[in-house]
């Protein structure tokens, strides 16, 4: 058995690791992720990665302004707009260029770079965030229009140390590779789950006059089609969302071929009847 998640073949746990495991309440929500997730608490793994990145930026942050640095002669914003909005629960007051879209406001002004720019024209879904709880594209949302609105980004989904169930499920099912579309996928999925709870229909809903309850995998595929993943993690994204939606686990669709099977087909010779 080659299964890292299997209790019998997993690594021995030290007392510290056992303690670490107990600190990960989210993981019990997503079944076997509990074990394969070892060492990947927000404080653990993320701390490590954040530290690595921080170090790279620190050197730059210390940089002073060069005496010869060139600045614009007329740097002032034209058409400034003042906006007060909530982002991940915190009130933000911004004076910004009327042309600034929410995506750029998040990335360039609020240091919330988790929201990604993929196409900047509504054709990929990477910039998906929640505005007043609904999934929208931040690249086509003028920041100026958001007075009094509540924006939730990928940075606002986890509750402290506890990942949102969709975030945990994405890790469990490996619902990403490069990770660039992932924040948009996850925000989209969180919005989708709420839409499903409201019984909303989709293009593949057979009878739009009837109530919609449980989403089939095909329903999830269609509803997630506004989020392009060029790495092609789609089946795993669907599995992650299905579990977050219904609690249903999706069986693994890969396996190692066993020695006996190999021996059998090798014996088969030229006139193998399986072909």
């Amino acid at each position: 058995m080659k299964d890292y998640s299997d209790e019998t073949s997993g690594p021995e746990l030290t007392a510290d690791e056992e303690a670490l495991l107990k600190e990960m309440p989210t993981l019990t929500d997503v079944g076997q992720a509990r074990r394969t997730f070892l060492g990947q608490t927000i404080t653990g793994s993320l701390g490590l990665f954040a530290l690595m990145l921080l170090e790279k930026e620190q050197a730059l942050a210390a940089l002073g302004t060069s005496p010869e640095a060139v600045f614009a002669a007329a740097p002032a914003l034209e058409n400034p707009v003042k906006v007060v909005l909530k982002v991940n629960g915190a009130t933000k007051t911004l004076e910004l260029d009327s042309r600034m879209v929410l995506l750029d406001a998040l990335r360039e002004r609020l240091e919330l770079t988790g929201t990604k720019k993929g196409c900047d024209q509504g054709q990929c879904g990477a910039c998906t965030v929640l505005v007043d709880g609904r999934r929208v594209l931040s690249c086509l949302t003028l920041a100026a229009t958001l007075e009094g609105r509540e924006v939730t980004t990928i940075e606002g989904l986890a509750k402290g140390e506890e990942l949102h169930p969709v975030q945990a499920a994405f890790i469990k099912y490996d619902g990403f590779q490069c990770g660039y579309c992932t924040p948009g996928q996850i925000c989209s999925a969180v919005g989708l789950l709420e839409e499903a709870r409201r019984g909303e229909v989709s293009h593949v809903t057979e009878d739009v006059t009837a109530p919609v309850r449980q989403l089939t995998d095909d329903e999830i595929r269609e509803r997630m089609s506004g989020n392009i993943c060029r790495c092609g993690a789609y089946p795993k994204i669907v599995a992650a969302i299905q579990e977050a939606h219904s609690g249903r686990e999706t069986a693994r669709t890969w396996r190692f071929v066993e020695e006996e099977e190999l021996a059998r087909v090798r014996k088969g010779g030229e006139a193998d009847e399986t072909v």
């Binding site: 034209e78 058409n79 707009v81 009327s98 042309r99 879209v101 900047d120 024209q121 509504g122 879904g125 998906t128 609904r134 999934r135 929208v136 594209l137 690249c139 086509l140 949302t141 003028l142 100026a144 229009t145 007075e147 989209s188 919005g191 989708l192 839409e195 409201r198 019984g199 909303e200 229909v201 989709s202 293009h203 809903t205 739009v208 006059t209 595929r221 269609e222 509803r223 089609s225 506004g226 989020n227 392009i228």
Partner: protein, 329 residues
């Protein structure tokens, strides 16, 4: 994107006045198309009047059994409104066939009618396009025109209207209610809302500058039981139609009492086929009748160099949509 003044409108009259008084001002609702085009420098307003605070999002029954849909109701809310799902499922299907969940959460019904063509030449400011820059020529006429019109095009423009919702609205004989800066209201039947390109392809529709869409009115529909929206595209979702068909039938036993056939993705406006509808009237609801109707619907198509397939695809799509509408398939 050019610099623009941002104005947050408080009520419809103020919004209409703001736009009417500035020839370069535009309304902003969901923003899903205009912002994209502004980034491409195709749309160049110097003032945007934000409509999103206006109270025009209500969906309510109208006297006479129809339905009034607020212009600022989101596409998602419209598609999922219980009365629309029950009485106008064709509209629900058409809306959810378009764009993505996120875009439908942003897009408004009024804005949906205002979306502009997805012609590649229109989008690229380095290319000729009479719609974007009158007099510069039509790049698609003798260029790449696989996704372009087979009906109603002119030498000046072969672009298509890209939307789905309007195709269903046409089949349902909706009426668009608009209001101008003086507070005067008028209604435009949906079939007369969008235009054919003719010599003025820069004008997509028959709205006057400063006129604001306030509502879409749907008459009571006899089609709830037998309608279907079919969309054929290059991938399974999140793509514009190669051909779309909004089909609606009122059946009397096994016979067609009345029919509505509107094709999308084939013309500068939703393309209704009175010929096909007439061919169905009084006929049995059968594949054979549907084939005859499909032939009638596509009879006068004039394909371009790369889109002759739309004629055959259009026929087959009409048959399939009618088969689904009549529940024969």
């Amino acid at each position: 994107m050019r610099p623009f003044k941002y104005v947050r409108a408080i009520n419809a009259d103020e919004a209409a006045r703001a736009v009417a008084s500035n020839p370069q001002a535009k309304f902003l609702a969901g923003g899903t198309n205009i912002l994209d085009l502004m980034k491409e420098d195709v749309e160049r307003p110097n003032e945007l009047v934000d409509l999103t605070r206006l109270k025009l999002a209500e969906i309510k029954t109208a006297p006479g059994g129809g339905l009034t849909i607020g212009a600022l109701a989101k596409n998602t809310d419209t598609a999922n409104h219980p009365l629309i799902r029950k009485n106008y499922p064709l509209l629900t299907q058409a809306i959810v066939a378009g764009a993505s969940g996120q875009l439908r959460n942003m897009a408004t019904n009024g804005g949906n009618l205002m979306q502009r063509t997805r012609c590649q030449y229109f989008y690229d400011t380095a290319m000729p396009c009479n719609k974007r820059e009158p007099g510069s020529g039509c790049g698609a006429l003798e260029g790449l025109n696989r996704i372009h019109a087979i009906f109603g095009w002119s030498e000046k423009c072969v672009a298509t209207y890209p939307g789905d919702m309007a195709n269903a609205l046409y089949a349902l004989e909706a009426v668009v209610r608009v209001r101008n800066a003086e507070g005067r209201e008028r209604t435009i039947p949906i079939g007369e809302f969008h235009r054919l390109p003719g010599d003025t392809p820069e004008r997509d529709n028959n709205l006057q500058h400063g006129e604001l869409i306030t509502a879409i009115e749907l008459p009571k529909s006899p089609f709830a039981k037998h309608s279907y929206y079919l969309k054929v595209r290059d991938r399974a979702s999140y793509a514009f139609a190669l051909v779309a068909v909004a089909a609606a039938l009122e059946l009397d036993g096994g016979r067609v009492k009345q029919a509505r056939i509107v094709l999308g993705g084939v013309a500068h406006k939703p393309w209704r086929s009175p010929e096909a509808e007439a061919a169905l009237s009084g006929r049995p609801a059968s594949e054979e009748s549907f084939r005859r109707a499909a032939e009638a619907a596509l009879k006068d198509a004039k394909p371009l160099a790369h889109n002759a397939y739309k004629v055959e695809l259009g026929k087959r799509a009409v048959v399939r949509a009618l088969m689904r509408a009549s529940r024969l398939a």
